[in-house]
């Protein structure tokens, strides 16, 4: 419980620092939001009035406090280019990106864990050699290129899905998932390779541990030693890796969404960057950062579950 409280305090501190850094970055850029909203033909008086209205003349810290308070209440500001609430713009995009990340995470876990164990168990066998080499190559393929290859092979040649034929989760859940499987696979592939490799190495080194010898001395067979004793120990570094991979995948999904024409956070982020629509960019960046920090927090808790030795110092 104390562990939880300390981690929670750390979480809130990090959230504040991160949001302040982002706020600061967008506060110091040249260019005046009021001018940007009104256009260059606006009279100085009108600009000044809007500045006052937006609270831009207040000190930085005060502006940050107001912004973060609004943010927590769900008011993320107003878009320069669309003149609508940012919250409204991104509300239905967040589930799409989340779903994409969740599906690819699911794929990583269900594919890499059995594969890593199999490799370790039949070390130096034919399958192991093939997977080790394949892993090395797959790790070098950027997700957007594997996305293109998947589009070519599964979409255009095998007709398993229609490239660009995204179906909203509001229309049809099943078809949404069916379409999302392919971009999720593209994001997951390099992580599957890394995770498999890590688990293989980890299992092999744990198999040399003293407690393994103890387990054999009690009459366990190799399978029982592997699944009952080694696996939980071997998963500890994999959990750390998966936590780091998750934050990477959230960012990776921004690119892969473009390959598969998925209208998630990535699309709107890119449009806003091109339009220099800072409130939107700022809100999305903070949202993604919060998501990543939250994931790390959950991984820390999970870590405690897997490894009883973890204590807060």
């Amino acid at each position: 419980m104390k562990y939880f409280a300390k981690k929670l305090a750390g979480l809130i501190a990090t959230l504040l620092v991160v949001s302040f850094l982002v706020f600061l970055a967008f506060a110091v850029i040249p260019g005046d939001p009021a001018t940007a909203m009104l256009g260059t033909e606006a009279t100085p008086a009108r600009v000044e009035a809007l500045r006052e209205e937006l609270g831009l003349n207040a000190p930085l810290i005060e502006r940050y406090a107001k912004w973060i308070a609004d943010f927590v209440r769900g008011d993320m500001g107003t878009s320069y280019s669309y003149h609508m609430a940012v919250t409204e713009m991104i509300a239905d995009k967040i589930p799409v990106t989340l779903a994409l990340t969740a599906i690819s995470f699911f794929l990583i876990v269900v594919i890499s864990i059995p594969l890593g164990i199999t490799c370790a168990r039949y070390m130096d066998g034919a399958l192991d050699h093939i997977i080790v080499v394949a892993n090395q190559v797959i790790m070098a393929v950027p997700p957007f290129f594997s996305g293109i290859l998947i589009t070519l092979v599964f979409g255009l040649v095998l007709h398993l899905f229609t490239p660009g034929g995204y179906v909203s989760y509001r229309t049809d859940w099943a078809r949404f998932l069916g379409y999302m499987f392919f971009p999720a696979l593209a994001i997951a592939l390099p992580k599957i390779a890394m995770s498999t490799k890590l688990l293989r190495t980890s299992v092999l080194s744990e198999m040399k541990a003293d407690y393994v010898r103890t387990a054999y001395s009690r009459g366990n067979g190799t399978r029982a030693v592997l699944y009952r004793h080694v696996l939980k120990n071997a998963l500890i570094p994999v959990v750390t890796f998966l936590g780091m991979a998750l934050s990477d995948m959230v960012a990776g999904s921004i690119i892969v969404e473009q390959v598969f024409n998925v209208p998630g956070l990535g699309r709107i982020l890119l449009t806003s960057i091109s339009n220099r629509d800072y409130p939107v960019v700022q809100a999305i960046i903070v949202c993604i950062a919060f998501l990543v920090i939250l994931i790390n927090f959950l991984v820390d808790l999970l870590y405690k579950l897997v490894d009883p030795r973890i204590t807060m110092e």
Partner: protein, 283 residues
Amino acid sequence: MLDVIDLNLEFHDHLVPETVVYDFDLHMEPGEIVGLVGESGSGKSMTALAIAGLLSRHDMQKRGKILFEGQDLLTCRRSELRSLQGDDIAMIFQEPMTSLNPVYRIGPQVEEALRIHSPGIDKEERKRRAIQMLADVDLEEPERVYDAYPHQLSGGMRQRVMIAAAMICGPKLLIADEPTTALDVTVQAQIVKLLKRINREKKTAILFISHDLSLIRQLCQRVVVMQGGRIVESGSIEEVYGSPRMEYTQKLIAAIPRCEKKYARRQSGKSAQSAKGGMQDGR
């Protein structure tokens, strides 16, 4: 009960095959405590692992016979070997710090041999026996220990836990591979006392491996001395300690610190008597 005949262990992991144990012979009666002594690298631990059936590396060759109640452990099937391991033959190790699985609680680890070899026993009964066993090895608050993780216990406590886990099925042979080396001197004495009591109460034969002659003297009836993979001397404690035939054994005995040697002699005399007395009481 246990007959090791002409055991040879040879490793093939280097260019030149390396023999670590030559023509090892050992006979053990039920309920007997035999000491196996030698400096590090003398092959004693390898011999112990071979008898426990834990040397299953592919890059080595095992020749000879290890007969446990007439069954050869070197040639029998893996499943037959496994049905003996943990049930009739149990083992404890040098490093109590790492020999327990760090991510599981003590309870399931103590019960494990019981779960494997007596699947008919239900959960509650297993737990009851495990807690009883933890109490039997002189652990205070056995219920608390049952729910603890290994890292929450001291080295001595962990070695007691290892002994409890090894004894849970009431094995006929307990192989103790330098079980006290990693522990403090005071804890060493306690563990030796505990092993002695277990041997007396449960009639478990113990093969006690150590490089410490004074410990062997406190605990064992017979001793086998190894050097460079070969047996150089064997016999009863009195014979070997009273008139060591080999120069090597003399050196080993001479290496026992002096005052401790006197103490050990007195102790072994006493314990030989008390062991006799105990046997008479038993009758």
